[in-house]
């Protein structure tokens, strides 16, 4: 008999995955609602292409469904595993691109762009995205996972399969490069002349 939605909603990620592996479809919905926006957001920041980010997020979730029956609870975090899949898929696509011209960078969407605040924010987010795309992919990944997705350094190390020290280094260099890429855009970012 399927478990009711309420009793599954508070379950940890790996318990939900095990439930889906046993045929509890409602567990898949909770997992998708929990992770899909984050995975899509991360892929979007890495690739800056809606269609590609969509493909990557869907593919990552598909791989999760496939591995569900064999998932061993307590051995790995579902979130770390998913971010790693997204990272690998993004890396593959970035390698195929071999560099993205700034002209091809899409304008990030913003749902509140009609209001003045929304416009300013959309400008800021667009400027940030443009600057992020100038960073080497590994630095961009470290900065986004730490400061946008909110992962801890050990989690990022697990996602990127490097040491915590390497994550700290990538993050520090990434932030310096980001600050440099945004130099001269203070007005646009709403920070005045500084």
């Amino acid at each position: 008999m399927p478990m009711p939605l309420d009793s599954l909603a508070d379950q940890p990620d790996d318990a939900l995955l095990a439930a889906y592996g046993r045929g509890e479809r409602v567990a898949a919905r909770i997992l998708a609602e929990r992770f899909l926006p984050r995975l899509y957001g991360h892929a979007m920041r890495m690739l800056n292409d809606r269609a590609e980010a969509e493909d990557v997020a869907q593919e990552a979730m598909l791989r999760l469904w496939k591995i569900a029956p064999a998932w061993r609870q307590g051995e790995a975090k579902v979130s770390t595993w998913l971010y790693r899949v997204v990272a690998n898929l993004c890396t593959d696509r970035l390698r195929r691109r071999r560099g993205v011209g700034l002209d091809s960078i899409a304008e990030p969407a913003d749902d509140a762009a009609s209001a003045e605040d929304g416009l300013v924010r959309a400008q800021r987010v667009a400027a940030l995205q443009e600057a992020l795309m100038r960073l080497p992919a590994r630095q961009r990944q470290a900065v986004v996972l730490r400061h946008v997705e909110g992962l801890s350094n050990p989690e990022i190390a697990a996602v990127m399969e490097v040491s915590v020290e390497a994550v700290e280094s990538l993050n520090a260099r990434g932030k310096r490069a980001l600050a440099k890429a945004l130099a001269g855009r203070r007005e646009e970012l709403g920070y005045g002349d500084g």
């Binding site: 889906y20 045929g23 479809r25 898949a28 919905r29 998708a32 609602e33 899909l36 926006p37 984050r38 899509y40 957001g41 979007m44 920041r45 809606r50 980010a53 969509e54 997020a57 869907q58 979730m61 598909l62 469904w65 496939k66 029956p69 990030p108 969407a109 913003d110 749902d111 924010r121 800021r124 987010v125 940030l128 995205q129 900065v143 400061h147 946008v148 997705e149 909110g150 932030k175 980001l178 600050a179 440099k180 945004l182 130099a183 001269g184 203070r186 970012l189 920070y191 500084g194």
Partner: protein, 140 residues
């Protein structure tokens, strides 16, 4: 050079900008969640189809008893089964009984003094077992 550095965002400003991006993730494309759930549903269907048949429900055992009951009813119920058992025993006895016992039984008719007597019937069974034992000794 100093001018250029002064125009860079400081750590606090950069953190603020990144935090703002975190608060406003790109909206999920229309239909993506549905496609992801369709994938999950299709895989769950495939897994359910490939699995061995589910364990029999608790009703399986009563269902088998019910089939026996139907067969018994077709024969005429428990009294018919008792009659059938008796006929089988008589058939067995006819097969093993010594010829003289069968002759006595064949000549038995109601009211016939030289006919079948229940007591003799029982004694005939003893003859059956003795005959079997003798056959066994001869073969040995």
């Amino acid at each position: 050079m100093v001018m250029a550095d002064s125009r860079r965002l400081n750590d606090e400003e950069l953190e603020k900008l990144l935090a703002e991006a975190a608060r406003h993730p790109p909206p999920l494309p229309e239909g993506l969640l549905e496609r992801v759930l369709a994938d999950a549903g299709a895989l769950a269907d495939a897994a359910a189809g490939g699995r061995p048949a589910p364990a029999p429900a608790p009703a399986a055992r009563p269902r088998r008893l019910a089939a026996c009951a139907g067969w018994l009813t077709a024969l005429g119920g428990w009294p018919a089964l008792a009659g059938l058992s008796a006929a089988a025993l008589v058939g067995l006895w006819l097969g093993y009984a010594p010829p003289q016992a069968v002759e006595r039984l064949a000549g038995a008719r109601p009211g016939n003094e030289g006919g079948f007597d229940p007591g003799e019937f029982m004694l005939s069974f003893e003859g059956v077992f003795e005959g079997i034992l003798e056959e066994g000794r001869e073969e040995g």
